[in-house]
Symmetry: C2
Subunit: 80 residues, 2 copies
């Protein structure tokens, strides 16, 4: 079973990395770009009985290690 | 118009960051996890006429700045 996790900064949290990317894109001539936000994307394989159990386990991983829930949101997707 | 970009390491490219996450998850008792790969996830707003033009522009950004195409793949999704 595979899982995909998106970890993004919460709205209102400053994203200096995204801002740096935005400025670099402007410098390269992509003037129409705004609100660039950079997050993390994690893929993993899991030994889990069913999709519901897998999702629960990955959410637990997010809370305990992968995401800083004070400033970050996480979204878990389980595939096949 | 909004775009979402996933930047992932190509197959066969070592991912020490993913490996570190995997080891940490094992240490926390999540023994069933394997093949952890960490990538980047970028969201942005665009001023573009239509979805096809937006996608083309973002792919150009990936090639020129966002992704290192020697070791990374990129996938672009344009929303509304």
């Amino acid at each position: 079973m595979k899982a995909r996790v998106h970890i993004t900064l919460k709205n209102g949290v400053l994203d200096p990395q995204g801002k740096a990317v935005e400025n670099a894109l402007h410098g390269l001539g992509f003037g129409g770009v705004s609100d660039v936000r950079q997050g993390k994307f994690i893929e993993m394989k899991l030994k889990a009985g069913d999709a519901a159990a897998a999702k629960k386990e990955v959410e637990e991983m997010c809370r305990s290690l992968l995401a800083n829930t004070v400033i970050e949101n996480y979204a878990v997707e389980v595939i096949d």
